[in-house]
Amino acid sequence: MKILAANRLIDGIAVWLGPNGNWVEDIRDADVVRDATGEEQLLATARDAFGNNLIVDPELIDVDLIDGEVIPRRLRERIRAAGPSIHPNLGKQAARNAVVHLT
């Protein structure tokens, strides 16, 4: 399973591609795809958004769905989805009562 991560051009904030081509700030709203066709669709939308100067550094990342929640495989992406592990009051984890799955 994959989702597409990027940073927003104007402020650098981490975003993910949601359904309907919207860029979402909360990983729980990301569009999860399960096959090559889905991946290609995400990449095509991201290429457009990159070309339209909305986002930079688009990248497909591996995730699992655990209890209905999108959890990236790599720690790097889990930290990106939550915020610095040392500052629970900063980043996305501050804006919501996110469960931060670091391990």
């Binding site: 402020d11 650098g12 981490a14 100067n53 930079v56 790599r74 720690l75 790097r76 610095p84 592990s85």
Partner: protein, 556 residues
Amino acid sequence: MYRYDEFDYAVVKARVDQFRDQVARRLSGELTEDQFKPLRLMNGVYLQLHSYMLRIAIPYGTLSSTQLRMLAVIARDYDKGYGHFTTRQNLQFHWPALKDVPDILDKLASVEMHCIQTSGNCIRNVTADHFAGAAADEMADPRPYAEILRQWSSLHPEFSYLPRKFKIAVTGAERDRAAVQVHDIGLHLKKDAEGNLGFTVYVGGGLGRTPFVAKKIRDFLPEQDLLAYVTAILRVYNLEGRRDNKYKARIKILVHETGTAELTALVEKEFAHLKESELKLPESDIRAIETYFAPPVLPHRPEGDAVIARAIAEDAGFAAWARRNLQTHKNPDYASVTISLKGIGEVPGDMSAEQMDVVADLADEFAFSEIRVSHEQNLILPHVARADLKQVYDRLKAADLATANAGLISDMIACPGLDYCALANARSIPIAQGIAERFADQAVQEDIGDLKIKISGCINACGHHHVGHIGILGVEKKGAELYQVTLGGSGDENAALGDIIGRGFAEDEIVDAVDTIVKTYLAHRQDRHESFLSAYQRLGLAPFKEALYGSDAKVA
């Protein structure tokens, strides 16, 4: 302090205007990301995990109270209320929006600061001893030379597209507190037999993927030849350095592959052409720059000893702080104060906007408005009357800035690591916090004595782990964080790279591993005067291996 002249002002102002235009054109789509990325990097703007990061140069680690106050303003108005001091004597903001960066740069320019050459394959911020101009063991203040190098290297057309980045460090004291031997060029100021000032020149030091201690290529370079000689080195590197492989492009690889003798010959040959050129520094110019760095007039304050004796008797916290965080000053009535940014459980090098304001106020009231940033991620008040130390301590304490741990085990270097950095493999900061908490007890720390732990979150080694007495390198193995440990590294005048002890430790094992290493030292040291590093040099890896891995060690 050095004050910008009209050229400095004009250059920095023009650069801000240029970048404002570039950002606008990027946001409108006129510039593509491929076109824009090198431009933003030239202005210190990186993209990290959560956001952009802005890296601000603090030339040779010298800051005024006005500048620090402006950093606090930026932290509050454009970031999340704090900044991070790095091992390069820079300050990084972790959360600026690209659209705001031109305004931030304008604010910085108003206090004579900028982000130029904090990225890219150019000559980076020149670093220096953080006790420069104050330390009792100093031969001469290294900062005038660092400033000359800064002026010469800023936007230098010949050296703006080097094979790789290039770092120069200068120290003027007997003890090397600027780690000059792990820089591309290290300059150690000294006097010859006739009392003339000059430099011992080291080339090709560096950490990262392929660490090297620099090679000495000149015992004594007269001060007037500084620019001619450094130009000669850069010219040889620019022509001969490898551009085919990013990982082999630093001058350390050129020195290694060419051989020190041959490289020295190439440099000396180039130098022979340049020696009598316009690069020769006129004595009057050197002395003119020096006047900017003249120490403040320090009033006679002989009452210090009595005040301190009383404070020590009354306040154990002050006594500990006075034992650890004071550096002997040239003037016996004064001391240099280390403000530890390593409070137990805090993030090494982080400072809140409120704390910045407190330190700026203290600098104005007690320290001639001067502040220094150390490569060990602490701040320094270089000239404080000993008679005022108790007042300074009390005010620092109220701002959580009086941790009495300078040079102790909890005074660690840690890079931002995977909590922020896009290049990281593992986190650094939580490891530093875990170690600091384990050794939080003041008596325990002081019993262990001088011990430098340095932690990097990847092989790029921003946390200088190779030269830590205990070095910790985070790697990723099978999707998990793993920490490799080295022992015996040193970044001082006897620079050495640490030895890898053995297999790495998981995130939940590494603090225990450090604990075991420290206990082994305590068990084996001859007495309290034998430091960790000296004990390691005498004992070697064996007892530490045995303690960490048991009988496995003998097999490994």
